[in-house]
Amino acid sequence: MRTAEIAHLLRLEWQLDRRQKHVWGSMALYVVSTIYVCYHGVRHLTEVPIWNALFWIILLFAAFNALVRSFQRENQGRQLYLYTLASPRSVVLARTLYNGLIMAVLSLLSLGAYALFIGGAPLEAARLDIFLPVVVIGGTGFALVLTLIAALAARAGNGIGLMAILGFPIVLPMLLSLMKASKLALDGMGWNVTGQYVLWLVLIDLITVALAWLLFPYLWRD
């Protein structure tokens, strides 16, 4: 593993995205318009379980939307060029980390927009020192799991349709534990109750990154 290479690739991702600022705009707009549609459906939600479930569903779809382009940005030739310059493992690690960072920011933004439109009442009784980390870990976790799936779907020559089919069952376990952990945090439970869920989520994230690192070299070549 070459740290310098990964740092370079991270900077490359950052520069590419900065040159195409509409990409970030489209992610943010997707989340905000989804939340706005939900707002017209439900107005203000005060029931914690529904508030919680709706938030995670919105964030899940936002993650699918944000990550599907992650391996479709470059054409075949550019990708090949990239892999001759850097090791595929560095490429996938850099891209996974970058997607994780993007999703961490996007999940916090979504939470802000969600609290603004759908109502922040459930947050008042919540342990924010637990809820916010859970949201960030959840958003990052989606990105980590879905990066490899996005690469698979892109390789299979099929976009968001295949990605959703492949991704949903794999994300589901994580989603269930996230909903549980964030529900507990919203109910004001302390670390002694939520801790095991957070630990388990971090564990899934680590396993996912390890698997992506192991499997990606087989994926990119034709």
Binding site: V145, L148, I149, L152, R155, A156, G157, N158, L162, I165, L166, F168, P169, I170, L172, P173, L176, S177, K180, Q196, Y197, W200, L203, I204, I207, T208, L211, L215, Y218, L219, D222
Partner: protein, 339 residues
């Protein structure tokens, strides 16, 4: 012939499982009492048994409350499974739940635990009350448990389905590793056959589980970590088949499918192992509910359960080899047609 013995073994074991598993009677038990609360004074209780033999000799009937026994003043047997007992309940029983017991030489002790809510508790009663016989019966039978009742036999069908599915998925996982290692299409065919067969057993596991859940929990499906795990597993492998369908090039398909299979298998295993231990569940083996192996699975069940697991797993592997042979023949025929 050499290499056939295990197929014969699976048939013999499954025949044994079906015959013994469905034919062995449940042990006798008390299943119903006509009252649900008792108070000091004379009471008359009707008790219904299951597989009991009350008419052979009039059974001893007693109440038991925190180790203190109250024997029946009179027992009136109506049939093999129905009797009426009259008690003089003393005041001052210690616990608010009282069990109903009966004993005769044919059936041994049978009990309806915590049958009655008890009123007017106290601490005055000392000793064990009346003396009773507790000699166990002899003979081979399955345990008769409340709620489970006759459905306990499903243990020999429902549980081995999941064992078989896991074995086949592990075969598919190993073959997928070999695909990435060697890039050989033969391994890809093996992985696909194993996944196909494992989905058949998953479907059987879901059907038997659903029927069992209806009979014991009262619903065809409940939200439960074990059940969610089963649903996720089926979805993952259905997605595996769809991924295969969307890639036309066979070598690329083999590689992509193998990558997805390895990724999904590892995450699924972690999920199935860890998550049920984090949450409460109705299902045996989770969240404080004991697995069958802890104390429910007594020796009579083991005598059928272990052969059942072995037999079903062997049958599953046999089905996999047949499916693989068909797939191989179809691919040979396709190649011949192309020429």
């Amino acid at each position: 012939m050499k290499g056939w013995w295990w197929k014969g073994l699976s048939v013999v074991l499954l025949l044994y499982v079906v015959l013994v598993g469905l034919h062995t009677p449940l042990g006798p038990a008390l299943v119903y009492a006509s009252l649900d609360r008792i108070a000091p004074g004379p009471i008359t209780v009707g008790a219904t048994g299951y597989n009991t033999h009350f008419t052979k000799e009039t059974p001893q009937v007693w109440l038991e409350n925190d180790g203190y026994r109250v024997c029946a003043a009179a027992v009136d047997v109506h049939s093999d499974v129905l009797l009426q007992a009259t008690f003089n309940v003393p005041p001052g029983l210690r616990s608010n739940m009282t069990s109903l017991w009966a004993w005769d030489a044919t059936d041994g002790p049978v009990v309806l635990r915590d049958a009655f809510f008890t009123e007017e508790l106290g601490k005055d009663l000392q000793g064990a009350g009346c003396t009773v016989s507790t000699t166990e019966r002899s003979g081979f039978s399955f345990p008769n448990r409340t709620i489970l009742n006759e459905t306990i036999r499903n243990l020999f069908f429902h549980v081995p389905m999941w064992f078989t599915m896991m074995v086949l998925m592990t075969i598919a996982f190993v073959q997928s590793l070999l695909v990435l290692r060697k890039g050989n299409l033969a391994h890809d065919r093996m992985a696909l056959s194993a996944v196909d067969t494992s989905l058949l057993f998953a479907a059987l596991g879901l059907i038997t589980g659903s029927i069992w859940a209806r009979a014991t929990w009262g619903d065809w499906w409940t939200s439960d970590p074990k059940l969610n795990g089963a649903a996720v597993t089926v979805l993952i492998y259905a997605a595996y088949l769809i991924l295969r369908g969307s890639v036309p090039d066979p070598h690329k398909r083999a590689r992509l499918a193998a990558i997805y299979n390895i990724f999904a298998y590892v995450l699924m295993m972690v999920f199935l192992m860890v998550l049920p231990r984090l949450t409460d569940s109705l299902h045996p083996g989770n969240g404080g509910n004991p697995a069958f192996s802890q104390y429910d699975l007594d020796s009579s069940l083991r005598a059928v359960f272990y052969p059942a697991v072995t037999g079903w797993v062997l049958l599953g592997v046999w089905a996999y080899t047949l499916h693989l042979r068909t797939a191989r023949l179809i691919s040979i025929a396709d190649e011949a047609n192309d020429r």
